[in-house]
């Protein structure tokens, strides 16, 4: 049986079995669900293609039921095309796609939870932009999706991927860490590079609170998808440059769990603290209640 419980396990299994990390994760999936390698790959491909579909189906005219979300992805697209893009073409596209998927989620469109619905824009933003930008083969993107999934599974087991139990570091933070690892792989990083990219991304998001306005997956969630995606790129780039995390990747995940436990309940999806109790948030709430 191939079973992994930590980032360390993933790296040592990859060395022992002389298989790339993504294949270790696929093998474990095949054993756990009793499916063939082809079936497993096809399922992952379907997830990736659904992400693509969500991006393609973005409707710039949609507004969420609360009225708070909609149109930001389109604004970013227009700005990116205006010649004033600050961040470079790739990052501009990453921001645009993160907003688009995040808004599509808020507007009741079909998305892939990755790892959650609130953080569903991070991985597609980083991945779809990379594929478009570098004319990658789709199968190679699917390989990298396994890396994101395996890393996410380790985080879920040792910490959390739910805002209600770990705060937003567990949602946008995990998504960002998963995307960073996948991106490092796509750009030719080895296992060490992959896991340090994940460590950077997660470290940068530690302590992030979950304080959604009116309890809706809109504010601050949608824009955080963009920030989480850009953080994934920063983190992958640092790791690819040969920079290494002073804190071991598994210890970063462990820290995330401890911080999540220490965060007060009002900052864990209850809508009772942080941004959710601001004057602006109260005004939105009054408007919603009046309807």
């Amino acid at each position: 049986m191939i079973i992994y419980h930590s980032i360390n396990d993933l790296v040592s299994l990859s060395e022992q079995l002389k298989l790339p990390m993504w294949q270790v994760i696929r093998k474990a999936d095949c054993e756990a669900r009793q499916v063939s390698e082809e079936e497993s790959f096809a399922t992952m491909k379907k997830m990736y293609q659904t992400m693509k579909q969500t991006d393609a189906d973005y409707d710039k005219n949609l507004v969420s039921p609360s009225g708070m979300a909609g149109g930001a992805g389109e604004k970013m697209r227009v700005f990116n095309a205006s010649g004033r893009n600050l961040a470079g073409e790739y990052l501009g596209l990453v921001m645009e796609k993160a907003l688009k998927t995040g808004e599509s989620n808020a507007c009741m469109k079909r998305i892939v939870a990755a790892p959650t619905a609130g953080s569903c824009g991070v991985i597609p933003a980083v991945f779809l932009s990379f594929e478009e930008f570098n004319h990658m083969l789709e199968d190679r993107m699917v390989e990298a999706m396994y890396i994101t999934a395996g890393i996410g599974a380790v985080i879920a087991e040792n910490a959390s991927i739910a805002g209600a139990s770990g705060g937003c570091q567990a949602e946008i933070g995990s998504a960002s860490a998963m995307a960073a690892a996948g991106l490092a792989y796509l750009q030719g990083g080895d296992n060490e590079c992959i896991v340090h990219a994940m460590a950077f991304a997660l470290k940068n998001m530690l302590g992030l609170t979950c304080d959604p306005v009116c309890g809706l997956v809109e504010v601050p969630c949608i824009k955080r998808n963009s920030a989480g995606a850009v953080n994934a790129v920063t983190s992958a780039q640092m790791a690819l440059a040969g920079i290494r995390s002073a804190i071991a990747p598994d210890e970063v995940i462990d820290s995330m769990r401890r911080i999540g436990n220490e965060l007060p309940a009002c900052l864990k999806e209850t809508g009772m603290g942080g941004l959710a109790v601001t004057e602006s948030a109260m005004k939105v709430k009054e408007k919603l209640d009046a309807r």
């Binding site: 469109k109 619905a117 997956v217």
Partner: protein, 220 residues
């Protein structure tokens, strides 16, 4: 840990608990009713009531009651679709005590007159729990074919049901027994590894002392 719980599920947004979970509660309830819904009273509680509108919880529940799954693109339009089909839907507030924060009470009437009252809880991540059927506590997720038998609390009924299942080569994954009081109403909830044949369910319904049989099939 299933990696497709990490990358996935595919769902209509915005919330795995308030949207995807709500669709699932509706879907399971429709399956348990065993026929198309003619009218439904939907009573919301806690966070479902407070933030449900913004999350599309009402649309999600109705979509599920019409047999849609969590990734169905028609979920945002379910209220209009239900109206077109002449399904009567009313919403209200559930007066529950100490219930799970994401709870809903559904009172359903089917097209042939079958009725069912269900309390569902959305536990997060799209996972749900059916906490009550017709006023009696239960506890199941709808991940298995599930047989729910209401009977009078008297000896012999458990054996009747389990020996029928053994006879049909249906393996029991878990079994729970509940009753309101000694000699009163009792419920068995049996999660199975295989589907229970339709004629066996009909056979059960005709046994003296068995008042009602509801079955959640995962087929179709």
């Amino acid at each position: 840990m299933n990696i497709f719980d990490i990358i996935g599920p595919v769902m209509v947004g915005p919330s795995s608990s308030h949207t995807a979970g709500a669709v699932r509660i509706g879907y399971i309830s429709r399956k348990l009713l065993g026929e198309n819904v003619k009218s439904a009273e939907i009573l919301l509680y806690g966070s479902f009531l407070a933030t449900g509108k913004g999350h599309g919880t009402q649309k999600a529940l109705v979509a599920g009651l019409m047999g849609m799954k969590a990734d169905d693109n028609r979920i945002p339009y379910s209220l209009e679709l239900a109206e077109e089909l002449g399904i009567e839907i009313t919403f209200g507030e559930a007066l529950l005590r100490d219930a799970h924060p994401n709870s809903v009470l559904l009172r359903l009437l089917g097209e042939t007159g079958r009725t069912l009252e269900i309390m569902g809880e959305s536990l997060g991540g799209g996972i749900v729990n059916i906490a009550q059927i017709d006023g009696i506590a239960t506890n199941f997720s709808g991940d298995y074919p599930t047989l729910v038998v209401h009977n009078i609390d008297q000896p012999g009924h458990v054996t009747e049901v389990t020996s029928m299942l053994a006879h049909k080569s249906v393996n029991i994954a878990s079994m729970q027994l509940y009753r309101s009081n000694r000699g009163g109403d009792a419920v068995m909830v049996i999660e199975c590894d295989q589907e229970v044949p339709a004629d066996s369910i009909q056979w059960l319904e005709h046994i003296e002392g068995i008042k009602k049989v509801t079955y959640l099939s995962l087929q179709g």
